[in-house]
Symmetry: C2
């Protein structure tokens, strides 16, 4: 067996920021070197950020990425890090310079570069491209057809990228190539997942490859996606050798004892396994001199609520930071949605950078006004009340509106005030809507729906309550004041746009509504199946009709962090013009 | 040679409306039968509408589509149309019932059914799936691997679907199978194209197939896409035998003299050509008794401006109609964008259903107020003026705003009024912005950007002027009053949100700006290339920076008809969080 100290750089990169991302790679490689690592691995598309969407199709960006990876290799060597082997994801390019329908010349690859001694020693192109859910990789990349095996300190290391681990071919090819270690670099976004699917997958991969598997993932937010890290090293027997804490930037170190390659044999002697070619490259033959192995971190996974909360915090924090904002502003109604949004915002960027505006109207209850102020007091955010009644009155003098038009008017006046303050002071406005509302269209477009980011967008109303209770309990557990006043959690939800209005006047009970939404949206079950599942036929038809008709509102809603297995946005893409209506028979 | 009267049903179908689409197929088949047709061909996905996006992934919808096509076959026979052969596009399903990663069991096909004698005789699954530009067919469909050749009245007819014609394989396979006619059903959206690419492609296909080619396309609008029809029958020598007028629903008839199949030989005797299997099915062997051929329509293509104008009209008309609206409302500022939008709306749904609202502020010029009223007078649309000064004042009492915040305030107050009237009266609000504004972010989000549809979204400002002039000239040519007051066209553009404001205070000259935008957006050229093209370096950097920073506004902008080769929306998909900045060197 041969020793190797592996460093998995679970880090947060910014889409398009090649200079800053290169800097981060250099800094983390210095840190890894200081800690005695021999191999440092960065996640999928670390150099470019991920996902880059149509930037992959712009020739200038492809060229910049290729230049950046070459420059990085030189830079690492210049800074005395040339002896380390560094694997980093970037936007590569196929050698074939023929243009193809819908594709520029030199089609892009989702690639992993192996850097050593001041140069790019070899590069692996992702073989299996995901094109479902939030992924559109057939739009952007051409698949690679060659597995790369690199011999580092006498150990043969096979490379995979993300989806390669999920499908047939690459992993078994690694075994055929007698790899001593399988390295998988990932851009695997968070989604709620109570079972430990990722570990299971890694353990299965290690067993199939017949060698330890090292899985490194991005952390941080990028528009709708939040990457949760959770990097893992697992033995072929399924033992977790190291595991990084979720959502945190960290350099995960693991001292491994690996099967050394036969020094007489060439790397990957056979050249073709089940359709995937194998290429071998020798980086270094000399084994690492024996050293005392240290213990690795094996972090516990967060529980379900903590995980969701952390995804919201990281998603918001990165959206704010990466888009150059310093502060956020939201309407504080005294309701549960704006209260939880405010608490998440305070956690993400500090209460001193959070601005809450209360806009009471004639229909606002005293308890709502009090609850908003009390939330502000408990969290320490900046609070201001701007009553809207005189403005409402002025609009009514100008145009004759009643019913829903008059209700929406109030919501839109509030939005005009928030956007005015945003333009005046540079705050990012947060939309506070939840997934249940957005699903059934129970929100005012250009009213409460305004904002640049919507932290709760992918949480059903019942999950909002659950998370609020969890957050308060956490505070109690830490001996702190619960941030959300109990009344906010306990009171029946209301938009307070007309006298005595309650959500339950218009919508089914949220418990029931969310069950239907979960089946229809997240599991794409049709109405007949929902009725089979035991839901009332009329309820199903009513809810599904509301969902189908609200598509136009969702199209104009701001992005928010994906939490569920199917979010509104990248995951679920339906036409606005759509006459299909699920009708339950029976 | 064998005779055949072919009917190409260039028609407008609605996404998701299986019953109405089936009705339309039946009605048009009756019409074709009455006109003596032997074969009636409907476009790609006619039965389901196109594109259906994630409806393709819903099992209930796939089942409904399959039932609808079976039901349609029975219905046609029941109505005495069973002797006709009908080819119709629908959502099919692969027989393989294994679930796959990211895909439900029984993966969807983009299919063409051949109906005859009360049943689905055979079905062809699209072989080449486009996954670029506005297309995402790898997300939705699995490719077919078998060409279908059907013998109808003794003539072997090969089937292709849209992209199959653009790529290698299917067309030459049709020749190998000795097809007497190649039928291509299409869902090919309009985009501006001065060269006659479609005809060129069809002629090339017919020459390669060695037989006449019949190309039938959808018409009508579906969210961002407008299908322009332009169905064509072309001989292998490249002669246009028939051509349908663009954008119109029409049954294009063509009397063809075709190579008959050898009656002794089986259909498609060889079973495998260049990776594509071939299956043959006999529908009918008896040749059509000799008859006198009639002359076919060969419509002229519209000129560039007429084509664009028609795309806007059809796109808007169908969005309104298919989403159940009866009227539209827009702000009329007296500017060129709202004026052209109003004229398009009047053409699309009748002036009596168009509501224009003028919202003068303290900064509105007298000529703008006059021009808005004059436009209303000339077109006959419903016109109302609602001054906003008292409301502006009331907001300023509530919050302290100046500069751009105060400018945006006015635009947002107008939007609140339009949305109030929309909610009160059921009008669809139209956003009047153009592509140049949307590109550089020169619009107020939740202000002039509000609306359910944006007719000019994909027209650069210079194209807006061009089209306005063209429309006025058309009116003069017909002896009518030009709808747009000349002053609207001639005056320098201004948002009129502050005293004496002109667009040119903030933006480069529109001629120059549009040239840069055309290069950067439609041709995806980087800054270095733009500078090479002769643009000033500072100008390029300034414009590109504005474009990159405005992505968040575009995400929340309503859909509008695609006109250019790369629209904002389905065609150009960039992250909001994106630190990549094109920097021109040199």
């Amino acid at each position: 067996m041969a020793q190797l100290r592996l460093a998995l750089a679970q880090a947060d990169f910014t889409v398009g920021d090649l200079p800053a991302n290169s800097e981060k790679v250099v800094a983390l490689t210095h840190e890894a070197a200081a800690k005695g690592a021999h191999l440092v691995v960065f996640p999928e598309m670390a150099l470019t950020g991920y996902p880059i969407e149509d930037l992959a199709l712009r020739a200038s960006f492809v060229a910049a990425s290729r230049n950046a990876v070459e420059g990085l290799a030189v830079r690492l060597a210049d800074e005395g890090l040339g002896d380390l082997t560094v694997i980093v994801g970037y936007l590569g390019q196929h050698d074939d310079q023929r243009a193809e329908l819908g594709r520029p010349k030199g089609a892009p690859h989702n690639s992993a570069a192996v850097l050593h001694g001041g140069r790019v020693v070899t590069s692996y192109a992702k073989h299996h491209l995901p094109n479902y859910g939030v992924f559109d990789e057939f739009r952007y990349f051409v698949p690679g057809d060659t597995m790369q095996v690199v011999r580092v300190h006498g150990i043969d290391i096979a490379l995979c990228i993300c989806e390669d681990l999920w499908r047939d071919g690459p992993v078994t090819t690694a075994r055929s190539a007698n790899a001593g270690l399988l390295v998988v670099i990932n851009g695997s976004p968070y989604e709620r997942n109570k079972d430990d699917v990722r570990l299971e997958l890694c353990a299965k991969g290690a067993a199939e490859a017949g060698c330890p598997l090292a899985y490194v993932n991005l952390v941080g937010g990028q528009d709708e996606l939040v990457f949760d890290g959770d990097s893992i090293v697992v033995s072929p027997q399924g033992d977790v050798l190291a595991r990084a804490p979720q959502f945190d930037e960290t350099l995960l170190l693991a001292d491994l004892a690996l099967e050394a390659a036969d020094p007489q044999a060439s790397v990957a002697p056979e050249s073709d396994y089940s359709g995937l070619r194998v290429e071998g490259t020798v980086v270094s033959r000399e084994p690492v001199p024996a050293y005392d192995a240290m213990e690795s971190t094996v972090a516990e996974r967060l529980d379900d609520s903590a995980e969701i909360y952390q995804a919201l915090v990281v998603g918001l924090r990165d959206y704010v930071r990466k888009n150059g904002f310093r502060s956020v502003l939201m309407g504080l109604s005294g309701g549960i949605d704006s209260s939880l949004t405010a608490v998440v915002a305070c956690e993400a960027i500090g209460a001193e950078n959070v601005y809450g505006v209360s806009n009471p109207s004639d229909y606002s209850s005293q308890h709502s006004k009090d609850d908003a102020a009390e939330l502000a007091r408990r969290t320490g955010l900046n609070f201001e009340a701007v009553p809207i009644a005189p403005i409402v009155e002025q609009f009514h003098k100008a145009v004759s509106l009643d019913g829903i038009a008059a209700e929406n008017l109030q919501a839109r006046i509030r939005a005009v005030i928030w956007m005015g303050l945003s333009n005046q002071h540079g705050h990012l406005v947060l939309a506070c809507g939840n997934k249940s509302e957005l699903a059934v269209g129970y929100s005012t477009i250009y009213g409460d729906a305004v904002g640049g980011f919507a932290p709760l967008k992918d949480l059903l109303k019942t999950q909002v309550w659950e998370l609020a209770r969890w957050r308060n309990a956490e505070a109690v557990g830490r001996g702190e004041t619960p941030p959300i006043p109990q009344g906010v959690i306990d009171k029946p939800p209301s938009a307070e746009l007309s006298p005595g209005q309650l959500d339950s006047d218009t919508l089914p009970d949220y418990g029931l509504l969310d069950d239907v939404l979960d089946d229809y949206i997240e599991h794409d079950r049709g109405s007949a199946e929902l009725v089979q599942d035991g839901f009332d036929r009329e309820l199903v038809e009513r809810v599904l009709r509301m969902v189908d008709r609200a598509e136009y509102k969702r199209r104009q809603y701001p992005p928010g962090p994906k939490i569920s297995i199917r979010n509104f946005g990248r995951d679920r893409r339906l036409p606005v013009t759509n006459a299909w209506r699920e009708i339950a028979e029976g």
